[in-house]
């Protein structure tokens, strides 16, 4: 990890650059960030789609795409994201480094200019988004929300979050609500856009074979509008980043039936520990022991020993301290699978962790951390997490912390893990 990030700020623009010869592509990742808000979620998640429908200079979506295509197929896409209790609008661009293409000098400068125009100079009619563009994107967005159900694995996992965190900000779905769409107008959307640009700082990550000084000059000039205003945003880091209630008084059980061949069993758990806490590394190891790997308890017991499933795993949302278990099973095996899973949760609580389970999990996690260094945006994700949690962590420090975790540390995490929700997507039966 000899390559080092450097950060330069001007006004509300924060540029983080990782100059490296490792990649043939240059990656640019920009985010505008705000707290999740029930009333604005739907508008803000349509926004990136509308922004991709053209700029003043490339006033239609295909002309905008062609503008990027000309730059050796620079790819640009924008989407809304949800990270803990924060909603983001993210813009990713990738383009080949000039070094590998003859006659392409100035490529990055042109690309960042075009990229900034998507964010700052969208195509407007009478000072507002076009009626036509907004109407089409509203329809597409409604369909996008309705289509979540087509992928039953993703749908079951979304439903589990929704049922578990219904009243918390985190229960708000990433794409917002279909019933909000009708009320959105070009004017209301434009106001949401302006408020986002005026209030959110812009964090821009640039990774690749670039010259820092010229990149900074190009970026600050392209984003002058944001660089000229103060960064006045209050911290996004919640004091208590945790979900509430911390300890559920009842386990919510929901079943839904579809015409399907396979049942999806999803379980949501609350841990009371999140990214900012000292116990976080122990929580990571807990999740690894439970279901993060092929050697984990879930895969070994649900799949390998009982032959009930093809997939059985758990994942951790570190910012929220929530754990989610998922498995695809025969509908008739519901009780059997649920019992086996609950037995695994119990066994960790009883400190039934073998030496192999502990050491394989640590080695596996360390390998994942080291391997994440081969992804251009890992550093960007770490910095986002730092902003959203209020705690800065380094990969190297996490590795050391993971190494030091004992079985008792994991047991103490287990003592604080509570099952909150069981969601079962099943067939319609006879």
């Amino acid at each position: 990890m000899q390559d080092q990030w450097e950060t330069h700020s001007k006004g509300a623009v924060h540029v983080h650059i990782l100059p490296t010869s490792k990649y043939k592509m240059t990656t640019v990742f920009g985010t505008l960030e705000r707290k999740l808000n029930r009333d604005l979620i739907t508008s803000v998640s349509i926004l990136p789609q509308v922004l991709q429908r053209g700029t003043m200079r490339h006033p239609s979506p295909e002309r905008l795409v062609r503008g990027f295509d000309e730059l050796y197929g620079a790819s640009m896409s924008a989407r809304s994201g949800k990270h803990g209790d924060v909603q983001t609008v993210e813009f990713v661009m990738q383009l080949p480094s000039e070094k590998f293409l003859s006659g392409s000098s100035g490529l990055f400068g042109q690309a960042i200019k075009l990229y900034s125009q998507v964010m700052l100079e969208p195509y407007l009619e009478d000072g507002c988004f076009s009626e036509h563009a907004v109407q089409i994107e509203k329809k597409l967005h409604r369909q996008r929300i309705e289509n979540i159900v087509n992928d039953k694995i993703a749908y079951a996992s979304e439903r589990c979050v929704e049922i578990m965190c219904g009243d918390e900000p985190y229960g708000i779905p990433r794409l917002g609500y279909a019933e909000d769409i009708d009320g959105i107008t070009p004017q209301s959307l434009y106001r949401a856009y302006q408020s986002l640009l005026e209030k959110s700082p812009l964090h821009l990550y640039i990774v690749g074979l670039v010259d820092v000084d010229s990149v900074l000059a190009e970026v600050f000039s392209a984003f002058a509008k944001i660089a000229l205003r103060e960064d006045s945003q209050e911290s996004l880091a919640y004091r208590g980043n945790l979900s509430t209630p911390v300890v559920p008084d009842k386990v919510k059980m929901v079943e839904e039936a579809f015409d399907v061949n396979q049942g999806k069993l999803n379980m949501g758990l609350r841990s009371q520990i999140s990214y900012k806490d000292d116990e976080y590394p122990a929580l990571i190891v807990y999740n690894g022991i439970l279901g993060g790997f092929p050697h984990s308890k879930l895969f070994t017991n649900v799949r390998e020993k009982a032959s009930l499933a093809y997939y059985a795993s758990s994942r951790l949302d570190g910012l929220k301290g929530l754990l989610f278990i998922q498995s695809g099973i025969q509908v008739a095996d519901y009780q059997k699978a649920k019992d086996i899973i609950e037995k695994q949760l119990e066994s960790i609580k009883k400190r039934e962790i073998s030496d192999d389970e502990l050491s394989f999990t640590k080695t596996g996690l360390i390998n994942q951390y080291l391997q994440s260094d081969d992804q251009p945006l890992t550093g960007a994700m770490m910095q986002m997490y730092a902003r959203f949690s209020g705690r800065e962590r380094q990969v190297s420090e996490l590795i050391e912390q993971v190494k030091s975790i004992s079985k008792e540390d994991i047991g103490q995490v287990a003592d604080r893990v509570y099952l909150d929700t069981v969601y079962f997507l099943r067939d319609k039966g006879l």
Binding site: K22, D69, E146, M253, V254, F258, Y310, N367
Partner: protein, 448 residues
Amino acid sequence: MREIKYERLGEAIYEEQLDNGLTVFVVPKFDFRQTYASFTTKYGSIDSEFVLPSKGERIRVPDGIAHFLEHKMFEEEHGDVFMDFAKLGAQANAFTTFDTTTYLFSSTNHELENLGILVDFVQRPYFTDANVEKEKGIIGQEIKMYEDNPNWRVYFGLLKALYGKFPVAIDIAGTVESIAKITKEDLYDCYNTFYHPSNMVLFVIGPVDPATVMSFVQENQAKKSYQGQPPVARFLPQLPAHPDQRKVEAHLSLSQPRILFGFKETLITPDADIRHRHEAAMEIWMDGILGKGSDLYYSLIDEGLTDMGFGSDYELTSWYGHSMIGGNSDKPMELAERVKSALFEAARIGMPEVDFVRTKKKAIGRFMALLDSPQGIANVYTSQKLRGIDLFTYLSVLEETTLDDVNRAIKMHVKDDQFAMSVVWPLSDAGAAEVGEGIAEKGQDGTN
């Protein structure tokens, strides 16, 4: 050890064929943390009829057996190979395609030890009646998972329409019925036929010294006694001249219909160079006419015929080839007709030069992006190599592609008698039914 340098790309590949026939490739990438290695046999879901080298006897095996074998390789007499990799912090996996089966790992440490585990477990089959039976439940759930997946269903629906009984249309995992018939004897027959080193390729990429890797593999292989084996005699039925059906339909729990359509390729040739050039020409025109920057793409969206997931893909081998185009649509038939007529128009008048120049540049950029992914290089290089093509020459092939090549490719490909489609429709009452919403008292049903 042969070294091939690609100066402009800043890449090099090292190649050696060992005495037992195994081909080894090493690509050093010293800037990367991870080493990624794959061990591939030229054996996939289509190879269901072949001659057993030991007995000289022609046999037919159940559908889905190559994939079943892939699952079973991970089990050893001493236990699960995943654990051996886990001990060294490596991530292991495997996948089966129509014509290959690949075993792989990635790790940031102990790369030679992991490489030893990879090569050894794939070269040491261990099948028992009990472990074969056990796997049927797991793969049964894998099959059911795919049955509920609209992308997979519409994809195999189109293969079925294009190829009928030709083996490409057979589901890679088989069916619950076909895998029920698999025995450990079948697995050994397939294993002994297709896992001979001369039918396999080992690919290693990462911060590794090629000479060290080569001598490690050499030593490993020298310890194993393989008898020479001639190339496997496989029996593939004749590729039908035309699609089997114009349309294949299915119904699924969905909120919106999904369609894929395409043309069966008529340029089927053993000449890898011709195929490589044809692939480049196809990539350029398909993006130019159907891609996000085309006139067509956003018209389709704005007319309410599809959404931004609309896309296209092309595949070409020495024995089959096809395009696939489509996405979600409320009016799938109308979408297919609109696109088809745009393609016939393009075949008639050719592609505008400005679009050609633009999409060719874009194809070059996309190729460069692939080179940043060790896994991408390993997978694409191996599958292309087994089809006789050197991936790293794609940049020059793209650059040499002319507008004439592209226009010829459109004309050759877009033929009405090679067209077929696949639609997955929503079931009429596809919505969710509330079955039960209960709350269990804490302590009774929870973990606490």
